[in-house]
Chain length 334, copies 2
């Protein structure tokens, strides 16, 4: 089955299972807490579900390894809940008023309730994951929950750096890569590995799946950094140079701050005009930031493709779907 048919099918199954898991939990007198989580997940008022990319990757990896999507489902659910817990707290930490065009949880229910709702979702993620006990046995469930908490610790280390960078003048490129390694790549690597683990993949395959996920996550984030400045608004759905407008210290900006004194001067202008934003993007291009970021994304894209070579010993239909998805993610127009 081609990706464009398989993808909506998988997303629909995941969506249904996420909803029923949350609905089956007992919230007692705190039913509004469930409503908050349903709103965040896109099931209340204005509907707006996420892409469910991470659980799709988990299920496809399980199938590509010769396993069963149903066995890996608890991992997929746990990963999507976990991802959304981090989004709730990220929005608070970044003071983002909106996400996907809707009010964030903290702007709608207040800071205190939103912090608490995030905590609830973190617990729910782990409870969903522990369903692996029934589908894959105790040893797999224990390993998965231990690794999930290691990934979370990695995420918070990345998030620590991200928050710290905001108030730092000069950020090391290496520190930046460590930050996105925690913030983005760690959970994608967990998503690929858990698919393999649920399918009973060998130790070698698990390591390779993890490396693949890490490269995928790094490539994806670095592409995002590129598109945040040079992306076509018609394709990205965001304004041109959105990251410059938001003053985000992404990879091209860090490169520019180091390499171009002209860019540095403009970056420190308060409330820059639109013309100055455009000038900044041009200065970044001129000092080689665009080429640098493209090349670095290329390095991780190459790593991801290398990681796929021979990963699944007997190429099968499921592996082809996974590869198509990875290809789609890696080859966004740069």
């Amino acid at each position: 089955m081609p990706l464009k048919e398989r993808l909506p099918q998988l997303v629909e199954v995941i969506e249904g299972r996420l909803q029923s898991f949350l609905n089956d939990l007992d919230f007692g007198a705190s039913a509004e807490l469930r409503t908050m989580l349903r709103y965040h997940l896109g099931w209340e008022d204005e509907l707006a579900g996420g892409k469910r990319l991470r659980p799709v990757i988990t299920l496809l990896c399980a199938e590509a390894c010769g396993g069963d999507a149903a066995a890996a489902m608890p991992a997929a659910l746990g990963i999507e809940f976990l991802h959304n817990f981090t989004l709730i707290h990220d929005d608070i930490e970044d003071q983002s008023p909106t996400r996907h065009g809707r009010a964030t949880l903290w702007t709608r229910w207040g800071l205190a309730q939103a912090v608490n709702a995030g905590d609830a979702l973190f617990s729910i993620a782990q409870l969903a994951l522990l369903g692996l006990t029934e589908t894959c046995g105790e040893a797999v469930a224990l390993r998965a929950v231990r690794e999930m908490n290691q990934v979370c610790l990695h995420l918070t280390r990345g998030q620590y750096l991200d928050i710290a960078f905001e108030t730092e003048d000069a950020v090391d490129l290496e520190a930046y890569l460590a930050m996105i390694g925690g913030k983005t790549a760690a959970l994608i690597a967990y998503s690929t590995a858990m698919g393999g683990l649920a399918a009973g993949a060998s130790k070698v395959t698990l390591t390779r799946l993890r490396t693949l996920g890490e490269a995928l996550g790094m490539a994806f984030q670095i592409q995002d950094d590129y598109l945040g400045i040079w992306g076509d608004p018609a394709v990205t759905g965001k304004s041109a140079s959105v990251d410059l407008l938001a003053r985000k210290k992404t990879l091209p900006v860090l490169f520019g701050l180091r390499e171009s004194s002209e860019f540095r001067a403009l970056w420190h202008v308060e409330n820059p005009a639109l013309g100055q934003i455009r000038a900044m993007a041009d200065l970044l291009e001129a000092c080689g930031a665009g080429a640098y970021v493209k090349a670095l994304a290329g390095k991780y894209i190459h790593q991801a493709h290398e990681g796929l070579v021979g990963l699944f010993p007997r190429p099968n239909a499921d592996a082809r779907v996974l590869m198509a998805l990875i290809g789609m993610l890696l080859h966004r127009e740069l």
Copy 2:
């Protein structure tokens, strides 16, 4: 060994194990995140460790059930880390600038870093708990981690109500009890039960331990509510009527709001003078709030004592230490 010798001994062991667990974790470039957690736990700058009451209860319950404190240690560590994760987020949600006379994490490092540090400690709590795999086997570890997440969900339900109550005019006494059941009693019930679980206690004993912990938690919290208004400043170390000053809707206040129109009128005075605070405390006493709260605490104290009868089939030295601790907790001067 009498409680007053055993208690500091246990606290010292727990303290050392908590410190070494945190120090052994890899924080990479985010070493400051560890410093934040060490500060919160009382190991940086001004030293101020907590009472470590919950892990002490876990270890004493394990011993009273004929088990080994060493086997239960991972549960004790996980519980204390978890308790502290909730304190970090509580301080944010309540906007408390200080705890035990020191700046809270969010006032010192900012809101964003404090939310994130709390998340890190939640993961660390689960990683510490999973040490049960080595001391008690996979089945016990899995059960403990599943129940920890159920308890966390219960905690967030209680916290949801607590935050919601702040802006509600009339709070049902029943809803209030549900709130403290989640906020205080659930984790103490988990602390008693996990001691028994690590000691291989029977299903019946586990249920009884849980009921005991719940009664203990309820009694403790209701006593706290009493002492927050009528406690002797010389004993509590807090100002007289501290909860009225802080305008906390504790149990006596809810009772007074329902029963006394005079109290209700004074409660709604903005910035009440010290004389008015004293008058409020007197009105609460006069309308029967003090007697009501004392009686309710008494009900749970009785339940806790009932729970101890015959709980440990062969009374042993360890059970006596546990009972002495519980007696100490339950019989604070009301």
